[in-house]
């Protein structure tokens, strides 16, 4: 084992040593198993009904606001083909019951809203390293980053595995809600390496009021990005601001990644909503 491998092993052992005993693990596991069994039976009987409910309640915004009107059809098709080349694998919400709605432990792959063809491109942002896209169906979404060649990437590596999707209930920051249309604004962020340079950077995607036309991102009181809203959705890419990083408007970053504030404005420039996202 070389020095690097030893360091990895040592670090992992340090992490493992932080684990603490968990209470009632047996009972908790058995309860979860019982709940999943019940849900599995119910899902078989009522998949169509559950999905229909989700379609009308969960995120009809994706379809209602016709986001395709603002994204060039050809570009949209290219993004869709790259991000969703086949039916996605759905990640089950960590809590199978959210706000009174249940989600199947094993998502039905052929149910409405679960196929690649059910997804539409909701918003895109182009930056020097490629494109950040948010795709959505009536039941879920996918956050996708493409490099300049149009290849989906995780960090600096091409994404080669099955495309993934999340149920809308998991979207947008810390709020676990079933109907995101009830939130004035919500944002999810993710960290990744810049697909082009390998440097750190932040993705964000969000849902804002339908009347919003632009979203700004502020760090340390300075506007560091401005993004277009399409049908109540936006995506963004922000460089990772660390010590020495030049800031827009002069100066350099002073320390760890600062908090980002997203503000949504309407066409008249009125502030509609804002949200802070801690790094």
């Amino acid at each position: 084992m070389n020095h690097e491998e030893l360091l990895i092993t040592e670090t992992m052992n340090t992490l493992a040593a932080r684990s603490e005993p968990a209470a009632d693990l047996t009972e908790r596991a058995l309860r979860t198993a019982r709940r999943r069994r019940r849900q599995g039976k119910a899902a078989l009987l009522a998949t169509a009904a559950v999905t229909a409910t989700a379609m009308t309640v969960a995120v009809p915004l994706a379809l209602r606001h016709a986001p395709a009107q603002r994204v060039r059809p050809t570009a949209q098709l290219d993004v869709h083909k790259s991000c969703m080349p086949r039916d996605p694998e759905f990640s089950v919400p960590s809590a199978s019951m959210v706000s009174g709605k249940t989600y199947p432990a094993e998502p039905p792959s052929r149910a409405p809203g679960h196929a690649a063809t059910d997804f539409r491109v909701l918003a895109t942002t182009t930056y020097s390293g490629g494109t950040v896209a948010l795709l959505g169906s009536s039941v879920g979404y996918q956050f996708c980053v493409l490099n300049t060649a149009g290849i989906p990437v995780y960090g600096s590596s091409p994404r080669t595995d099955t495309p993934y999707a999340m149920y809308w209930t998991e979207i947008l920051g810390t709020s676990k809600v079933h109907d995101i249309s009830k939130l004035p604004i919500s944002v999810l962020t993710g960290l990744n390496a810049d697909p082009r340079s390998g440097a750190g950077g932040n993705f964000a995607a969000g849902h804002v009021p339908a009347s919003a036309v632009r979203v700004t991102a502020l760090q340390r009181g300075r506007v560091v990005g401005e993004f277009r809203v399409t049908g109540g959705y936006f995506t963004s890419w922000l460089p990772l601001v660390t010590a020495g990083t030049p800031l827009p408007g002069g100066g350099t970053g002073l320390g760890p990644e600062p908090q980002t504030t997203f503000r949504a404005y309407d066409a008249a420039g009125h502030l509609l909503a804002k949200i802070h996202d801690s790094p």
């Binding site: 020095h3 092993t9 684990s19 968990a22 998991e170 979207i171 962020t189 390496a193 750190g200 320390g255």
Partner: protein, 167 residues
């Protein structure tokens, strides 16, 4: 699950939970998520107890890896921040080892779960590539390429790169 099976399952959980939680901690990087992961994998194990009771540990570990790889896609599992700056000066260490370990820890936690999982299997569990391939249900060549990519990503996330000669 009848009374005898319940006893066996309970005995299994009591005997393995500390080890499973340690593994889950390395995979998730936090106690709450680690407990969720173990609980969920144990629930799957309980549901298939009759089929897996001869080798439940292998089953639950495999379930944990697969579940974690799908879970990472949740935004809350991608919120870790990698920074080039240490939060506070590390204790004096003329080898720079402490700094490097802090950086390594952050970088490991910032890796996508799929990358982290393959490194955990190789370097924490110390499993041969063939065994890793079996758990991840992929060819050995894929394990090799994923490991190489994960290591490359790890190096990219560490502000003070590990010297070439130390690799």
């Amino acid at each position: 699950m009848d009374g005898e099976e319940l006893r066996q399952f309970t005995e299994f959980v009591n005997g393995q939970q500390a080890r499973l939680l340690r593994l889950a901690w390395v995979l998730t990087g936090e106690q709450g998520a680690a407990e969720d992961l173990v609980q969920s994998a144990l629930a799957r194990t309980a549901a298939r107890w009759r089929r897996v009771r001869d080798s439940p540990e292998a089953y639950v570990r495999t379930a944990m890896y697969h579940e974690q790889v799908s879970r990472w896609r949740s935004p809350r599992h991608r919120r870790e921040t990698v920074s080039a700056d240490l939060p506070e000066p590390a204790a004096y260490d003329d080898t720079g080892h402490a700094d490097l370990r802090v950086s390594m820890e952050r970088a490991l936690l910032a890796l996508p779960a799929r990358s982290r999982a393959v490194l955990v299997l190789r370097y924490y569990e110390d499993l041969p590539e063939a065994e890793v391939a079996k758990i991840l249900d992929c060819p050995v060549g894929t394990v090799r390429s994923r490991t190489a990519r994960a290591l490359a990503r790890l190096r990219a996330l560490i502000p003070n790169p590990i010297p070439e000669e130390s690799r």
